[in-house]
Amino acid sequence: MNWYRKLSIKQKQVVWAWTFLALPVLFYVVIRFYPTFGSVLLSFQDWNLLGSKTWIGLENYEKLVADPVFWKVFNNTFIYLLLGTPVSLLISFIIAYHLDKVSFLHATIRAMYFIPFMTSAVAMAWLWRWFYQPVPVGLFNNFLASIGISQLPFLKSTFSALPSVLAPAIWAGLGFQIIIFMAGLRAIPQSYYEAAQIDGVGPWTVLREITIPLLKPTLVFLVVFSSIGFLRIFDQVFNMTTNDPGGPLNSTKPLVLMIYDTAFNAFDMGYAAAQTVVLFTILLLVSLLQLYVMRERT
């Protein structure tokens, strides 16, 4: 350790810094960067997991563009996003806005909204799957029958299956969004509200002119966070449609489920890798687009 003693304080710091970073840097290179490039590379190859890899250029992507299932799945993925994000953010904002003004049993009510967030998506998927069963099994249809409304097909129809799969995902995520919204609301200086009150401004104007503009950072965070979540939906769909994954007729199949199927049931690894590249591109574009849009609207 003689060499170490000769170093200046600054140089010692550098030695320590790289000692601390050695293992993590190795981790990020081997477990994150190398596989990322591996996936991109694999998307230009044909590989069935056992044989050798052959370079096929853009063939996987050409196959993807020509695949009607892919376009169906692409469509579904965006429906999950375009339905899930606004609906969940609207509900959670309304609840957070009002819950923020309530102090009696505040913590208890907050806990009731938050509890679904603590559950595992797999368990909840099976629970909701039971709710959706036809009479006499399913809770929802039994309830509808008891008040004299005809049955709903829920997971059985191509029209209602996707919203039915989405509902528990929205439900489970609300608690998180409510907590974040409330933190954002609390961070708005009370003096703005006092000023508005002195000027006798109505609550709608306060909401539009003070609360929402000042909540923008929170909103950006939640929009990006929940969009990424809905674009990557998998656990719920996989578990609610085990008898026909992504069914009926691919009407609930999201991109991640297609990737899983292609890679681990069909063992068409190159084709699956091309799909992951598409997923990556979508996530990247959506994040950038949303950041841009939110920045514009000051």
Partner: protein
């Protein structure tokens, strides 16, 4: 300001606390409270039905009653009898605890280094780590799988755990929190003759414990409920984690909903207990990560 305007604002002040967090028994606040409370009941209703059904006999599960007429523990006896759930529970616990410890240590070490040290390449390392946040797990799964096959990590705890040993999100979070630790503290410790490792561990770390617990909660919950990777990397039921085990169990039972609900309840109860015990810390953790992240 005109006189009339002043009067108007006086009146609105008199009307009271539209924007204050005060309790009042105005009809509007009572309605607000009641609706929020009913909404809350609606939110936990599915979980109440989950727990209620797990105590019902098969012939009772079809009615809407919450309290069963003749509660039974038979479902739990049946589900737990062969011990599979205990194995899966144990596997999930091992995986979640190990990844949590590893992430908390390494994420804070890296966050600390990137926050408090000056060296060439610091920004590059930080941006590189941060950029991995943009890479979805699903994109890495195929290379991870081939890696696991090549190294014989299929059906092993390490195989389930290795992708989650460090998190970029945690690194970023901890870096933010170490900003609040004054450099003077670290300098004082340096003068006292502590080495850099000791300074990090015994001076800086105790100052960010709230952030550490928040990170720990997130990593634990994430790994406890993780599904797609454990599903791919294990095919031996002895190594399934709870979510994967629950899926296979439920597929097996097919229409025995009271048994499926019991399995789902077994997967849900532990996190509910954890939440009820650590509620304050968990909510605070969510707020902290949301605001800094």
């Amino acid at each position: 300001m005109s006189r009339t305007k002043f009067k108007a604002s006086q009146a609105s002040l008199g009307r009271g606390s539209t924007y204050a967090y005060k309790n009042s028994l105005k009809p509007a606040s009572v309605i607000r409270w009641t609706l929020l409370f009913m909404g809350g009941i609606l939110m936990i209703m599915p979980i109440i039905y989950l727990l209620s059904t797990s105590f019902k006999w098969p012939h009772e599960i079809y009615n809407l009653q919450i309290i069963p007429d003749e509660p039974t523990l038979d479902n739990y006896v049946y589900v737990l009898e062969d011990g599979r759930f205990f194995t899966w529970f144990g596997n999930s616990a091992i995986v979640a605890i190990c990844t949590t410890i590893s992430s908390v240590i390494f994420d804070s070490l890296v966050g600390y280094t990137l926050c408090k040290f000056e060296f060439k390449g610091k920004t590059f390392v930080f941006i590189a780590i941060l950029s991995t946040l943009m890479i979805p797990t699903e994109m890495l799964i195929i290379p991870w799988y081939t890696m696991a096959v090549d190294f014989g990590w299929i059906n092993s705890y390490w195989g389930i755990m290795f992708p989650g040993m460090m998190t970029a999100f945690g690194t970023f979070l901890m870096k933010q929190f170490f900003e609040s630790v004054p450099d003077e503290f670290l300098e004082a410790a340096r003068i006292d003759g502590l080495n850099e490792f000791q300074i990090w561990w015994s001076v800086a770390m105790p100052l960010v414990t709230p952030a550490l617990s928040a990170l720990a909660i997130f990593v634990f919950l994430g790994n406890w409920t993780a599904f797609i990777w454990p599903l791919i990397v294990t095919n031996d039921p002895v190594l399934y984690t709870l979510p994967v085990g629950l899926t296979t169990f439920s597929v097996e039972q097919s229409v025995e909903w009271e048994l499926i609900m019991t399995g789902a309840a077994l997967a849900t109860i532990p996190t509910l207990v954890v939440f009820l015990v650590f509620q304050r810390y968990i909510i605070r953790g969510v707020v902290m990560t949301g605001l800094k992240g």
